[in-house]
């Protein structure tokens, strides 16, 4: 009787173990086919998948390229419908909570626990539910800083700003020469419509101050002190004409870049992809871009924030037979040096901490940024990024904030009034 109980217990453990997400134990000759949805299709399809297939040659991965917002909208629809989800997908860190709330993602806690301490804490928080279960594996991180034109700064003897007061002063100095310190469209674009959008800019400026769009109870706090400081900074740049009124990623924006009229871009590590795709040899900015930490709001204050970054997630709809295959890809991409080197070289800074000290990753350079070792700077910023776990309503309050931004930028409302109105609408 007792033996039977022990045998039953062992059987139960084995069964549960089999149901849990498993990785790393897959035979290299395993055959199978997977479908992946992502907006970073070039990184995944052209770089990672071929590298993965060197290890697992018989696992065919079909990458379905989609636009950033389309990826997330379709994932939402597929989970709500109960069918149609891919085998795995790339999901931006800010939106993972939405899909956790939907209940459509597979719990990856078991896998993450085997890689304890290998991912930034803020990333795992963003991927976790209230009980601490983790539903995504951090794929790449997006530490934010100031991309700047070294040639412009040298030419006009601009010192690298350490505070936003110094940043504004630099902007005033450059304005005399017809150069903009950054670009801010008064129309206020969403994060998914341009390289980062004004909404994204406000978000990371708020996060930099350890602020949030929600309090611990989930109530919106769009008129918080941090949000106001961020908006005041943006409004100052707009009002004084220090920021060009162009949409990021628009033809006018790139023309400013070509004409050396854009001195800095506040953006994330992945902005290197924009530079790689746009700045060609012969361009005035080729070789002249550099990356520095964000200025601080107060002297000695935080100079770290995040804008984007992605996780690789499995879906509950993924057939059991395919989960191991998908986990093999996720494991390769997220927690092997080989996989992380591939997407680091592509320009997606890896979330996997052990890769940050690998000489191949640290010493990576890109021709448009001269000889600067960008990953070294990203790795210095990443551990200092404040938490930014936003509830599923995050998308909605972003849109509400976006609507108020235009009123503020064109001067129809003051910063305080605009944010108060946004707060009122968000809590309606």
């Amino acid at each position: 009787m007792r033996t039977n109980r022990i045998l039953l217990l062992v059987l139960a453990v084995l069964l549960l173990g089999g149901l849990a997400v498993n990785a790393g134990a897959l035979d290299k000759n395993t055959k199978g086919e997977l479908v992946n949805w992502t907006w970073t299709n070039k990184c995944v399809d052209e770089w990672l998948v071929p590298a993965f297939n060197k290890v697992y040659p018989n696992i065919k991965i079909t990458t379905v390229p989609m636009a950033f917002d389309e990826t997330h909208d379709k994932i939402f629809a597929a989970i709500a419908a109960g069918s149609g989800a891919p085998d795995f997908a790339t999901i931006v860190s800010d939106y993972v909570q939405k899909f956790i709330a939907q209940g459509g993602l597979v719990d990856m806690s078991d896998y993450i626990s085997r890689h304890k301490g290998e991912f930034p804490r803020y990333k795992l928080e963003m991927d976790s539910d209230a009980a601490g279960h983790v539903f995504g594996v951090p794929f790449n991180s997006a530490p934010v800083g100031m991309w700047y034109r070294k040639d412009i700064f040298d030419k006009y003897a601009i010192k690298l700003p350490e505070t936003y007061d110094e940043y504004i002063a630099a902007g005033r100095q450059l304005k005399k020469y017809g150069i903009y310190i950054d670009s801010i469209s008064v129309a206020a674009e969403a994060m998914d419509r341009s390289t980062h959008g004004e909404v994204g800019l406000h978000a990371f400026l708020t996060q930099q101050q350890s602020g949030s769009y929600f309090d611990k109870s989930g109530k919106p706090t769009l008129d918080s002190r941090e949000s106001k400081r961020a908006m005041n900074l943006m409004y100052t740049l707009v009002k004084e004409g220090l920021a060009a009124n162009v949409e990021n990623g628009s033809p006018a924006y790139y023309q400013l870049m070509d004409d050396s009229k854009l001195a800095t871009v506040m953006s994330a590590a992945w902005y290197i992809n924009v530079l790689v795709n746009y700045v060609k040899p012969g361009s005035s900015s080729f070789g002249n871009w550099r990356f520095a930490k964000l200025p601080a709001f107060d002297k000695g204050g935080s100079r770290a924030s995040n804008l984007g970054g992605a996780e690789l997630c499995l879906f509950k709809q993924t057939p059991a037979a395919k989960r191991d295959l998908a986990m093999a890809f996720i494991d390769f991409s997220c927690t092997t040096l080989e996989g992380n080197k591939v997407h680091a070289q592509y320009g997606e800074f890896p979330s996997w901490i052990p890769s940050w000290t690998n000489p191949d990753v640290v010493n990576m350079t890109w021709p448009m940024t001269g000889d600067q070792k960008l990953n070294k700077v990203f790795a210095e910023i990443e551990p200092l990024v404040p938490a930014w776990k936003q509830p599923p309503r995050y998308t909605e309050v972003q849109k509400i904030l976006q609507a108020s931004m235009n009123d503020i930028f064109v001067g129809d409302k003051s910063v305080d009034q605009g944010l108060a109105d946004a707060q009122k609408e968000a809590t309606r």
Binding site: F76, Q102, S250, Q402, A403, D407
Partner: protein, 300 residues
């Protein structure tokens, strides 16, 4: 004679019913069922993974108090008031010109005017996005050449709807021109001969004869334009994303956002049906105004 039952009629005309059945089956599965599902959903609160919670008319009550929704309704009314008259008037004028016996290269012009209609709305919107660019767009370039200040077509609340009007008018005037042309060509030429004999000039003939006789065609244009404008989605989604602020948000774009971005599927379904009612009212009025007893619309 004994009246034949429905079953008997179906059997007797079974071949006819077999031919028309596929449409109705597809309509039932892909049209009627989702519509009914959506109507039922509008009486529930369904977001994320929560089970459906019956809320009766709460979604509709919230909508009636939702300033963003009514802003979107006002936006499409504004777009309609500018776009539709301009489009109909232009299409009729062009049709009259192309119907003239003295007009040369008619086929060329007909095809040219129809090209915007057959081009993907997504492609057109992307091109207009560049054309309306504040600093590098073609329109502002032309304005600056004639000494005018550039206009913030897409980045100002004042002009965001005007940009949509221009795009939509440009895209649909060709289609409406073809409809108007078909209407003009259905008019018996003997009527025009009689007018000439009676000494009526071109303008008088147009206003007293052509226009009244193509009234049902114009009515059809207005009804289709009403439905199309009030349910606009792709153009504002690509061109302005409903902004700046909510200045170019349309009800269907708001529906899409509420359902798929804000995860308020029940609320989105409510927006769908309230929009349906708001579109139905002017459409029914127009049908009653323009339908003439005993005269069917020109087949288009």
């Amino acid at each position: 004679m004994k009246r034949q039952g429905l079953g008997h009629r179906i059997v007797r005309y079974r071949h006819a019913y077999a031919f028309i059945a596929p449409f109705f089956l597809i309509f039932a599965v892909f049209g009627l069922y989702p519509t009914a599902y959506s109507l039922v959903l509008s009486f529930y609160d369904w977001s994320a993974n929560q089970p459906w919670v019956f809320v009766a008319f709460q979604n509709y009550r919230k909508l009636l108090d939702d300033p963003v929704f009514w802003t979107s309704v006002w936006n499409v009314v504004y777009i309609y008031l500018i776009n539709v008259p301009a489009m109909v008037v232009l299409s009729v004028i062009i049709a009259v010109v192309l119907n003239s016996p003295y007009q040369r290269f008619k086929d060329f012009f007909r095809v040219t005017y129809l090209v915007p209609y057959v081009t993907s709305v997504l492609s057109i919107t992307i091109v207009f996005f560049v054309v309306f660019d504040d600093s590098r767009g073609l329109v502002n370039l032309l304005l600056s050449r004639i000494g005018l200040n550039p206009v913030h077509w897409l980045t100002s609340k004042k002009f965001s709807k005007v940009s949509l009007d221009i795009l939509v008018t440009w895209k649909w005037v060709g289609y409406n021109m073809i409809i108007a042309l078909a209407g003009l060509q259905s008019i018996d030429t003997q009527i025009y001969d009689a007018c000439r004999i009676d000494g009526a000039g071109t303008l008088r003939t147009f206003f007293r004869i052509s226009l009244p006789l193509i009234r049902p065609v114009v009515g059809f244009q207005l009804i289709m334009a009403t439905i199309g404008t009030l349910t606009m989605f792709t153009e504002p989604y690509i061109l302005t994303d409903g902004g700046p602020g909510y200045s170019s948000l349309t009800p269907v774009l708001y529906l899409y956002r509420s359902a798929f971005k804000f995860m308020k599927l029940g609320y989105g379904a409510g927006i769908a049906f309230l929009t349906f009612v708001l579109v139905l009212i002017p459409s029914v009025i127009q049908v009653r105004l323009y339908a003439e007893r005993g005269r069917s619309y020109t087949a288009v």
